[in-house]
């Protein structure tokens, strides 16, 4: 990558309604202990689904459904924190697998809400989406863009099958956003890997008008651990760094057991892994930025630190990147 770039700002947004495992227990036969043991999830936030009334409108005014609202909230906060306005943004990349409308892309109303006219598009690489977006953001800065607003936002509670006791407790809503800016020096993106195995569509999918998410959990677990470790290893090799050089590992927050299994195989200790799964659940494209934002807000990152992003998702997609934090990341 030719031009340098840095993440200069970040912010998160979450819907108000907290859905606990006790709430989930009112839907079908399960227990807090069963859910926590298998997933590490204690609560999630919901913008839709059986615990939220009134529901969002089916035809959101101006396209601003719950995904767009969360994206605009997180994106707007990230702009404000950087002292920027929408006019400063050359491109908005909205990573989502739960857009508000079939047409247009949810990034359009979000761009309107934030005053962005540079360009806007949605990226759907399922739960691997945010790291796909990060690689694209760095690439666009490499060919002349000054600033990219990169957002991961989801309303998974809208596509959850609330009668499915094997996976309904997994999903949550939220958004995380970062500003990626051109900066002097080398690119922050030191190594990356994107991939897909489209023969695995049936492991995890949701149909238009269908009952919601369908997932073969155990097989997803097995594939997820393997593809994430494999992809992260490739990114580390391409960046010419070792796992022991990584200051913060930010995996897709799907299931604490998968995160632990991946970190263990990569030989990255738990204290260097960012985790929000306990209180967010699986928020797909929003999970990596939510975990990054929390870690950055906690002061766990210093300029020069190496961050390893890695995710996997329906498709089956995967993505990983080694990213050098700062300077300018304050």
């Amino acid at each position: 990558m030719a031009a340098g770039c840095a993440i200069t700002s970040w912010a998160a947004a979450l819907p108000e309604r907290v859905v606990t495992n006790e709430d989930i227990m009112t839907l079908f036969d399960t227990s807090d202990e069963w859910i926590v043991t298998r997933t590490g999830i204690r609560q999630r936030r919901a913008a839709d689904g059986p615990f939220v009334t009134p529901k969002g409108p089916s035809s959101p005014p101006g396209g601003m459904g719950t995904t767009a609202q969360l994206a605009a909230q997180a994106g707007g906060a990230a702009l404000q924190r950087a002292g920027l306005s929408g006019a400063d943004i050359d491109l908005l990349i909205l990573c989502t697998t739960s857009p508000d409308q079939l047409v247009p892309a949810t990034s359009s109303p979000v761009a309107n809400a934030l005053g962005i006219r540079g360009g806007a598009m949605d990226v759907n690489a399922a739960c691997a989406g945010f790291t796909y977006g990060l690689v694209m953001a760095a690439s666009l800065i490499g060919v002349g863009a000054e600033r990219v607003l990169l957002v991961g936002a989801e309303t998974l509670t809208r596509i959850t099958n609330w009668a499915d006791r094997t996976n309904a407790f997994l999903f949550g809503d939220g958004a995380g956003a970062v500003v990626v800016e051109a900066s002097p020096g080398e690119s922050a993106l030191l190594g990356w890997d994107l991939g897909v195995d489209g023969s695995l569509v049936e492991l995890c999918y949701a149909d238009h008008g269908g009952p919601g998410m369908v997932m073969r959990g155990q097989e997803v677990f097995r594939q997820a651990v393997r593809v994430t470790v494999d992809s992260a290893t490739k990114s580390l090799e391409r960046a010419k760094v070792a796992a022991s050089d990584i200051a913060l590992f930010v995996p897709h927050q799907a299931n604490a057991r998968i995160m632990d299994a991946v970190a263990e195989r990569l030989d990255i200790p738990k204290q260097r892994t960012a985790s929000v799964i306990e209180w967010t659940g699986n928020t797909s494209s929003a999970s990596v930025p939510l975990a990054l934002v929390e870690a950055a807000d906690q002061g766990r990152l210093s300029p020069g630190d190496l961050v390893l992003f890695a995710g996997f998702g329906a498709g089956m997609t995967w993505s990983s990147a080694v990213w050098r934090w700062g300077p300018g990341s304050t």
Binding site: T37, R38, R216, Q218, E219, F221, R222, V225, R226, R257, A261
Partner: protein, 79 residues
């Protein structure tokens, strides 16, 4: 690999993944009741065994596997 070595290798994987005392890994031990292992523990064990023995076990083949002996049979039948 002699049968006793094979079982030792199996036992080593099981002890590491399930974090139980080696003496508990006997053919009649039941994963759920005796080893406190849930379905994801079993998936992780099979992943470790696949890597250790260089075999592939399909998801469908795991159905009905309830004891150490059944898992050992499943893996060694592929060697």
């Amino acid at each position: 690999m002699a049968p006793e070595d094979t079982f030792d290798a199996f036992k080593q994987c099981a002890v590491e993944v399930l974090q139980v005392d080696p003496s508990k890994i006997v053919p009649e031990a039941r994963f759920a009741e005796d080893l406190d292992a849930d379905s994801l523990d079993l998936v992780e064990l099979v992943m470790a065994l696949e890597e250790r023995f260089g075999v592939n076990v399909a998801e469908s083949e795991l159905e009905g596997v309830q004891t150490v002996g059944q898992a050992y049979e499943l893996v060694t039948s592929k060697l």
